[in-house]
């Protein structure tokens, strides 16, 4: 037995134990299986340690403001990222239970600790299942991050945005959630036209008012009636689950989505609804930042937890 294997066995006592038990039982078959298992685990470990990521660590990887993890061959070295300079996006992939959320928490925690000294801010969209993000709030100083649930979040997708043409807001909302609502080009146009008509005739505008108005709207052609009915049914599906979020008359102040560290918990497990709500918040945030250059100093990291179901287009 070589030294490496002995070291490997010392660090994995469970494997040795199963081999000992098999020997005690005196079953050749069990011993053979335990030995095979040890061999396989050892080979896997070798593959991870020596092969195939054996390149030198690029020196850029150790410069940055946010540590993402330890370099496996030398755990004393921290691998860092510089969020302030990233121009692309981040993809964090892995099967269930492999620690996607943990690595997110590690990054967000550091952003929250830098609250006073930088303009880095994060926003997390989490479904009811993944409430680990609540830890971020209670593990850090009060006032550096906030947890919003359905009782606090008030969302009016039709309310005006500072310094922005209301027609752009309508156009954004008409497109937002089009995929989630299953609307094609003509359906989107219908949504946009009816939104314009609704806003022209009302002062207090909100999503629930729009759906009620749409339900009473008379349409002359069969096509239009089809668009109307489909749109109502799909919007009602969302309102059924999230009525208390949209049941507001003054709406959000878009500033606080840009200025603060936020964890937003939506009471649903469906990524279809989650992507609808996060889509609304994000599109408004984009418009707000674009129209108010003062807020461009903030660098925002938006975390979309388990969103892939809502991103599909087939």
């Amino acid at each position: 037995m070589n030294d490496d294997l002995a070291k490997f066995l010392r660090s994995n006592p469970a494997l040795v134990k199963s081999l000992r038990i098999s020997r005690l039982l005196g079953s050749k078959e069990l011993v053979r299986r335990a030995e095979t298992r040890i061999q396989r685990s050892y080979q896997e470990r070798l593959a991870i340690n020596d092969q195939p990521f054996h390149d030198e660590l690029p020196p850029d990887y150790i410069i940055g403001n946010i540590a993402i993890g330890h370099y496996t061959p030398n755990p004393d070295i921290l691998v860092k990222i510089n969020i302030a300079n990233i121009s692309g996006h981040v993809v964090n992939a892995g099967a269930t239970g492999t620690g996607k959320t943990v690595s997110t928490l590690v990054v967000l925690d550091q952003i929250q600790k830098l609250y006073e000294t930088t303009n880095l801010r994060y926003m997390v969209f989490a479904s009811k299942r993944g409430c680990e993000q609540r830890n971020l709030i209670v593990n850090n100083h009060p006032g550096t991050g906030f947890f919003l649930d359905i009782s606090i979040l008030a969302l009016n997708p039709l309310s005006p945005i500072a310094n922005t043409d209301p027609n752009l807001v309508i156009a954004d909302f008409a497109r937002t959630g089009a995929t989630e609502l299953g609307l094609m080009a003509a359906g989107q146009l219908y949504k946009q036209n009816t939104l314009c008509q609704y806003i022209a005739g009302h002062t207090d505008v909100n999503l629930i008012g729009y759906v009620i108005w749409l339900a009473n709207k008379s349409e002359s052609t069969l096509d239009m009636r089809g668009y109307r009915d489909r749109l109502i049914v799909r919007l009602q599906t969302i309102l059924y689950e999230l009525r208390s979020i949209f049941d507001c008359y003054t709406g959000i102040d878009d500033r606080f989505f840009v200025e603060h560290n936020l964890v937003i918990e939506l009471p649903c497990s469906s990524s279809f609804i989650m992507s609808f709500v996060s889509g609304i918040i994000l599109s408004r945030m984009f418009r707000f930042k674009a129209a108010n250059p003062d807020f461009m100093r903030y660098k925002n990291l938006i975390v979309l937890e388990d969103i892939q179901g809502g991103l599909r287009y087939d």
Binding site: A47, G88, H89, V90, V91, T98, D109, G143, T250
Partner: protein, 346 residues
């Protein structure tokens, strides 16, 4: 066929992926399936953090994203431990490196703890967000109205026995049938119950049955109404009546009994003194009637009863049975019994 191009243009995120660079916004996608991510997102990712993936399709998708140089690197992805990850920053170096993600002390945090932690601060940031809800309209005085004792026990009875006849209900509750009928009508008027739009035909000269169901108000106060069986209301009704009829004749009746394959089920499974009987209720002429009979035969029942809606369907089922070599002997030996629903429970 769905036009993908149109929908792809419409997706909120894909628009944002392109615009966000100018607005200093970074999107982080935490996903289980990389292969499902749209092409634009995969291409625009500059930092990729990959944990263990169990699927080869996913691994091949991540290989392309992370510029892997050899196949062995892909295989490592499938054997990573929970804290291990492979990291690549395409803007700096573009070399995939293995990293160890430190543990984060996560635990269950209650609403109260969150509230205590952020109270005082949350009001400050929510300044300007005033939730003014319109006054709730009182639901036409229904809530205040107190139900009579008789009405309450009738609703409770209806909750458990939705498909019982008025006479059975009256006997069980020790009431006059007339009073039960009047109370049900009154509850419908007050909005606690609703009548099923179609009455169920019980057969020639036997009249019709009117099912009553809970409205949302009754559901809110008394809970869900128990309706056993599956399919349409008429199907569930006949399943329930069949079960009740045979239970009285000391059969052990089981609705929607699963067969040994654990996938298919028989409408009603009856057992008495070791004799096993299957009952199937058929309301429409569908191609699966033959399958339904065959699955009962293969399951090893001693007797099969098929109750069908109307004499036309009865003839049709008879033809099916006679034309099938496996079913025909069962019909001849009277182990397969065909009945219309009119005479099903005589």
């Amino acid at each position: 066929m769905t036009d993908h191009t149109q929908l792809r243009e419409a997706s909120t995120y894909i628009r944002m992926v392109n615009e966000s660079r100018y607005l200093r916004i970074v999107l982080m996608f935490n996903v289980q399936s990389v292969a499902l991510l749209p092409q634009q997102i995969r291409e625009s990712a500059s930092i990729v953090l990959c944990k263990r993936l169990n699927d080869k399709v996913e691994v091949s998708a991540i290989e392309k994203m992370m510029n892997f140089s050899s196949k062995e690197q892909g295989e490592v992805i499938m054997h990573l431990k929970n804290a291990d990850a492979i990291f690549i920053d395409k803007e700096r170096g573009a070399v995939p490196v293995p990293i160890l993600v430190p543990l984060y002390p996560a635990r269950q945090v209650s609403d109260e703890e969150i509230h205590a932690h952020q109270s005082g601060y949350i009001n400050r940031i929510l300044e300007g967000v005033v939730r003014e809800r319109p006054p709730q309209e009182a639901p036409a005085g229904r809530e205040e109205e107190e139900l009579s004792y008789t009405a309450k026990i009738i609703i409770e009875d209806l909750k458990r026995f939705a498909f019982d006849f008025q006479e059975e209900r009256a006997t069980r509750l020790n009431m006059n049938v007339r009073i039960v009928a009047d109370q049900l009508e009154e509850l419908v008027e007050k909005g606690w119950l609703r009548k099923h739009p179609e009455k169920i035909n019980l057969g020639k000269g036997k009249g019709q049955f009117q099912p009553y169901f809970f409205t949302e108000i009754a559901f809110g106060k008394f809970g869900r109404q128990k309706i056993s069986g599956k399919g349409s209301i008429v199907h569930a009704f006949w399943q329930y009546r069949g079960g009740k009829y045979y239970s009285k004749r000391s059969y052990r009746a089981d609705t929607e009994h699963f067969l040994s394959d654990n996938v298919t089920s028989v409408d009603l499974d009856l057992t008495k003194d070791g004799e096993k009987v299957a009952v199937e209720v058929e309301l429409n002429d569908t191609p699966h009637i033959q399958e339904n009979i065959l699955k009962c035969i293969r399951e090893g029942y001693d007797k099969i009863i098929i109750a069908v809606y109307g004499s036309k369907l009865l003839n049709r089922v008879q033809q099916i049975a006679l034309s099938n070599q496996e079913i025909e002997p069962w019909l001849a030996s009277q182990r397969l019994i065909l009945k219309t629903l009119d005479e099903f429970l005589d």
